[in-house]
């Protein structure tokens, strides 16, 4: 534990309450076409919704409901097979329409139909002063899937103690909704949520925010909270860079991250016993007539959300930003963005001869440019890192801090180099390999 102690001292020493991770000008803001945003925020609850596993994760679950059962808002519909405390909950009151599991009882999706009912699951909030009680509440109320751990990503283990928790009160992804708006009027809930998070860790709680939109005043005295000022350019507003710079995740030092809005939801859960389901979501993209900002729930039906505002013609709906989104039918548990893009058709594919020259050949290497350096916020040696990724050199990647990074952190480099997801896939493959290697 000597390392952890040193890190704490260094953190307190270097920073003293308020800190800036990188130069404010580093990073890139790629420009994607999108229509202007219609003013106003409306609440939308879709007619159908799904409880689905986060993209790329394979979760073995036990279903707690059968098809046709009525469910209340916030009622558990499934739990993890090997950690029955961790539940997935219904975003609204309705009826279970379809349960589809993959081979090995892995969760694919549980589709729900909304019904006119105001049944709401209320949780017992006594006993949350203890670590075990708080964990139990967070796990059973469905807040656990909103947390993410590094290294390797995915849900935190049920009894894992994080070395630090990062709260993201900024988001620099293109078209991301401003967390400041999401937190308006919920300052008390946010403060209560932060206090609860601090209870879960012995390390610091880092609150990442923009310089011009602070959500937390620099703490006085010696407490666990630290303010991190992030620059306005991507990827400074992702959790990866602050973690990589200030508190690298390690195999025995997991770092969790959670969005500020979800922290406020935790605060509300602790006060009322009911987990608020709505979240601020932005809808943008080239295939739309108008962009929107609205409040909806996780697992919302993307088709219904975009039905009235999409342009005619084939289009692709993605949960997440244009940089790191995935084509999907439902809004993913942690996503706050919906992107609608025109679907690639036969006409805009390259000429077959150009394709033969460029695609059939081996992959072309990345050339070191300023754009590539900036795509990691100039925070780590980009080229050696990409070389290690493409060569499968786990050891170098580990020493350069791959354990602090996830797919979304390299998505910008992928975009800048126009690699079409290659780098993201390489990162995931390497993380999986490291995970199996160290699990053995």
């Amino acid at each position: 534990m000597r390392g952890g102690c040193c890190a704490q001292q260094a953190l307190a020493h270097v920073i003293g309450g308020q800190m800036q991770i990188l130069g404010s000008g580093t990073g890139l803001n790629p420009d994607f076409p999108s229509p202007p945003v219609t003013p106003g925020i409306q609440d939308v609850v879709t007619e159908e919704a799904a409880v689905a596993a986060p993209e790329g994760s394979e979760l073995k679950v036990t279903t707690l409901v059968k098809e046709g059962d009525p469910v209340a808002q916030g009622a558990a519909v499934a739990c993890l097979r090997h950690a029955p405390d961790v539940c997935f909950v219904a975003p609204f009151a309705g009826r279970v329409a379809r349960i589809s599991l993959l081979a090995g009882k892995k969760l694919s999706e549980i589709v729900l139909f909304r019904e006119a009912s105001d049944a709401v699951e209320t949780h017992d909030v006594t006993g949350t002063k203890t670590d075990a009680g708080l964990r139990h509440l967070m796990q059973s109320a469905g807040l656990w899937p909103l947390l993410r751990r590094r290294p390797f990503g995915g849900l935190p283990y049920p009894s894992e103690k994080p070395a630090a928790i990062v709260v993201m009160a900024t988001d620099t992804r293109p078209f991301a909704p401003d967390p400041q708006i999401a937190l308006e009027g919920r300052e008390d809930d946010f403060a209560r949520g932060l206090a609860a998070l601090a209870q879960l860790t012995e390390g610091p709680v880092l609150v990442c925010q923009q310089a011009d939109a602070p959500v937390l005043a620099p703490p006085k005295g010696d407490n666990k909270f630290r303010c991190v000022t992030c620059g306005p350019r991507h990827p400074q507003g992702l959790a990866g860079l602050p973690i990589h710079q200030l508190f690298p995740a390690g195999l025995d030092a997991p770092v969790w991250d959670i969005h500020a809005e979800d922290t406020a939801a935790l605060g509300a859960l602790l006060k009322t016993g009911v987990l608020p389901m709505t979240r601020l979501v932005s809808i943008a993209g080239q295939a739309l007539r108008e962009a929107q900002l609205l409040r909806t729930h996780p697992g919302a039906d993307l088709r219904q959300l975009t039905q009235r505002i999409v342009l005619p013609g084939p289009h692709l709906l993605m949960t997440g930003s244009p940089l790191d989104g995935h084509p999907a039918r439902w809004l993913a548990p942690r996503d706050r963005q919906v992107t609608a893009l025109p679907r690639e058709t036969a006409q805009n594919r390259p000429h077959w001869f150009i394709a033969a020259l460029t695609r059939s050949a081996g992959k072309t290497p990345a050339i070191p440019t300023a754009a590539l350096t900036q795509s990691f916020g100039a925070g780590l040696p980009a080229i050696p890192f990409l070389h290690a990724l493409s060569a499968g050199d786990d050891e170098t990647a580990l020493s350069l801090g791959i354990l602090s990074l996830l797919e979304e952190d390299v998505a910008l480099a992928d975009y800048v180099l126009s690699e079409n997801g290659q780098i993201t896939a390489q990162l995931r493959a390497m993380l999986d390999r490291i995970k199996t290697e160290f699990a053995a």
């Binding site: 000597r2 040193c6 050339i367 440019t369 975009y415």
Partner: protein, 260 residues
């Protein structure tokens, strides 16, 4: 799908655009003779790129044009077609294509070709480039640095050290002009220069230091020859500089955080 534009071929195209001011001045001053040399060099390189595309499915790159330009401009004169073709082939194949093409090479193919020609045929005279071409290297470097395809730190490091040496009277005007041209054409190549930030400063400074050393201590060498030799040694040292900088960076992180 949405894509950025900084893939290998765009970077090569921007590099070509950056070299255009130099190319135009050079062609204007040297005339059709230079144009013929450029065409011949490009032809030989294109043949080798074609061979590697057909036998090893290695995508040809626009960077061949930048290599052709550097070789045509800096190669010793009066070699004859056969020896020139031999030198170009050696440089392009052994310096770039056997490593997997542009982006995977360790040394600039033009540096290898020029060194091969210079040391292999020492009687051939090195070209003397006029001052306007050296001046045209300044806009070339500015375009390259502004678009980010040339490492600005390499150029800045070299300019600082060379400026100091010139002020101390160690670097004469011919060596300074040739050094500037070679800096832009060969040393500030994004692939073969150092890739870490401090490494790039040292890389540029090392080039200028070697240039000064050769200019003061290498009697009877032509300015271009001096600069090419300095460029060759610098690009061979670049991976070592990167390795040292990365080791320091990792050690610093380990000390600060207890892990990496």
């Amino acid at each position: 799908m949405n894509r950025g534009l900084w893939n290998r071929e765009t970077v090569a195209a921007i590099l070509i655009a950056a070299y255009l001011p130099m190319a135009l001045f050079w062609l204007w001053l040297e005339g059709t003779d230079a144009l013929a040399r450029l065409g011949f060099t490009a032809l030989v390189i294109a043949v080798w790129h074609l061979v590697f595309m057909l036998t090893r499915a290695q995508a040809p790159s626009l960077a061949a044009v930048t290599a052709a330009f550097a070789i045509a401009m800096l190669a010793p004169e009066d070699l004859g077609i056969f020896r020139l073709a031999l030198g170009i082939s050696f440089g392009v194949v052994m310096g770039e294509l056997v490593f997997g093409g542009w982006g995977r090479n360790v040394v600039h193919p033009a540096t290898v070709a020029l060194s091969f020609l210079g040391y292999g045929f020492p009687t051939a005279a090195w070209p003397v480039l006029d001052a306007p071409i050296a001046w045209a290297a300044i806009p070339a470097a500015l375009i390259g640095m502004a678009t980010g395809v040339m490492p600005a730190q390499v150029i800045a490091g070299a300019v600082l050290v060379a400026g100091g040496a010139a002020a101390a009277g160690l670097l004469g005007e011919p060596a300074l002009l040739a050094g500037g041209i070679v800096l832009v054409l060969l040393v500030a190549d994004p692939v073969t220069s150092a890739i870490t930030l401090p490494g790039r400063w040292i890389n540029g400074a090392l080039y200028a230091a070697l240039l000064t050393l050769f200019a003061t201590g290498w009697a009877g060498a032509a300015p271009i020859q001096i600069a090419v030799a300095a460029a060759l040694l610098t690009s061979l040292a670049a991976p070592l500089l990167d390795e040292a900088v990365l080791a320091l960076w990792v050690a610093q992180r380990r000390r600060r955080h207890g892990r990496t």
